[in-house]
């Protein structure tokens, strides 16, 4: 590796991230096709409602495993919350001004930790469990209403936050995206965005 670079993700993490992202996008498109009759043409692309239903269900199974696999990579660190993390959240990571300084962050910043815990883990669990309820629970109004409500609640959180995640990890922070493609980021990037982690790695 070039002396300017730092290993940000393992091959496994990257592979699983893209399984997660692609499965999510398929779920999202078919889900929208089911939710809005005006968007039902989306499911025509997936071969019609019958095939789209099967695709939605089995992609949900892939998504479930993928979410479970992220636990090993991010859960431990996301649960370790420091004083700097609180500061980071209070000034919203400096995103609302051109001059704000970011409090030193570890390998994951506080926003990433919150995104991981609240969206991926919590809403992920809700959307997964409710999905299996809709699929497999007995045909009673009670079960189906519960499943339907929870699935839609979690969906609203996902469609509102995932675009922000995509923006923040691409256009908003030049140099970040390569961490999920090539797996490396520059030392300058690391010092700028994750100075605590940089220190731990011994980057001056």
């Amino acid at each position: 590796m070039s002396e300017y670079l730092v290993q940000r993700t393992t091959t496994w993490e990257r592979f699983n991230h893209w399984v997660l992202a692609v499965s999510f996008i398929i779920l999202c498109l078919t889900g929208l096709g089911f939710l809005f009759h005006s968007l039902n043409w989306l499911n025509t692309i997936f071969g019609g409602n019958h095939l789209a239903k099967e695709i939605h269900r089995w992609t949900g199974v892939v998504f479930t495993f993928s979410v479970l696999f992220t636990l090993g990579s991010y859960l431990g660190e996301s649960l370790r919350f420091s004083k700097e993390d609180t500061q980071w959240l209070l000034n919203l990571g400096g995103y609302l001004s051109k001059t704000a300084v970011e409090p030193p962050q570890g390998r994951l910043n506080a926003g990433q930790k919150v995104y991981y815990l609240v969206v991926v883990v919590l809403c992920g669990a809700v959307i997964i469990i409710s999905g299996f309820i809709i699929w497999l629970a007995p045909s009673t109004a009670g079960w189906l209403r519960l499943g339907h409500l929870l699935h839609n609640l979690a969906f609203v959180v996902f469609v509102t936050t995932v675009p922000l995640h995509i923006y923040l990890s691409t256009a908003a922070n030049p140099g970040t995206f390569r961490g999920m493609t090539r797996g490396t980021v520059t030392k300058t990037w690391t010092k700028r965005h994750h100075s605590k982690w940089a220190k731990e790695l011994g980057i001056d």
Binding site: S139, T140, R145, N152, P163, A171, R192
Partner: protein, 269 residues
């Protein structure tokens, strides 16, 4: 009414059947519990019989099934004059504001016929069972392929000018079929002050002339869409689009105003 006028009415009212023409009026006090309608329905719709066991009541089978669209419910009430039997036909109400149609994700699986019935098309049904979640009356049932089954007001008969099999068979006039307005005035003329389903849920296609409280017969006194479905329809569904659009717009606005966190001076990113 011309098709365009129907479409226009749908659009302005938000209810999909202001134009409903036909319906049933059920007068439980005229029902003698013969279950002729239950049998005629199975006969016309070619629904096979099902083996049940004696539960100590004449009410049989115990509940609607994918092979039973219309069932006479037997209710026993103790009164001062002794035990009283109440009979009521339990089946799809062909709601004007049909919860089943609102939640169905497969357009055309449930559809409104020109006479105002809520009919189904098993070829389009994907078997998700959401229609049961949306129904205020616990009506849809699912066959072995998980496809929807329920009363469709004999849509194949009424579209050809025939009454539904149940109404045709009923020997006492407890089930009568006709123009909805006429049925309503008929009930009022017979001394029923209020008709169940006159205005509820956008007007039910199956209305009831009750002397007792609807709850005696196992129906909600004031029927309405399930609250989770109302919340979903009025809040969550719009929020999904607002949230998605808002997030994309917020990202774009941020990018062109505050802008990205540019690389440090001279730093290689």
């Amino acid at each position: 009414m011309a098709v365009q006028e129907i479409e226009r009415q749908k659009y302005i009212s938000g209810v999909d059947v202001p134009y409903r023409q036909k319906g049933l009026l059920i007068t439980p006090e005229l029902c003698i519990g013969c279950r002729g309608c239950q049998t005629a329905c199975k006969e016309w719709n070619k629904l096979p019989g099902e083996r049940t066991h004696n539960r100590g009541t004449y009410e049989n089978p115990p509940d609607l099934t994918p092979n039973l669209y219309n069932k006479i419910r037997f209710v026993e009430v103790e009164t001062q004059q002794g035990l009283k039997w109440l009979f009521i036909s339990q089946r799809c109400m062909h709601c004007g504001e049909a919860g089943c149609m609102k939640v169905c994700p497969a357009p055309g699986a449930l559809y409104r016929t020109p006479q105002g019935a809520v009919a189904f098309n098993k070829d389009k049904c994907i078997g998700c069972r959401f229609c049961l979640a949306g129904c205020p009356f616990n009506i849809p049932r699912f066959d072995s392929n998980s496809k929807v089954s329920k009363c469709h007001l004999c849509s194949d008969r009424i579209s050809n000018g025939l009454p539904p099999a149940c109404a045709k068979t009923c020997p006492t006039g407890a089930i009568s079929y006709g123009d909805r307005d006429k049925l309503l005035s008929l009930a009022k003329a017979s001394g029923f002050k209020a008709v169940y389903g006159d205005k509820d849920l956008g007007g039910l296609g199956v209305m009831f002339a009750f002397r007792e409280y609807p709850s005696f017969y196992g129906l909600p006194d004031t029927p309405g869409l399930p609250s989770s479905i109302v919340f979903w329809k009025s809040i969550l569904k719009p929020l999904a689009l607002i949230g998605l659009g808002g997030a994309v717009a917020a990202a774009a606005a941020h990018y062109i105003t505050i802008g990205p966190k540019e690389p440090e001076e001279g730093g290689e990113q």
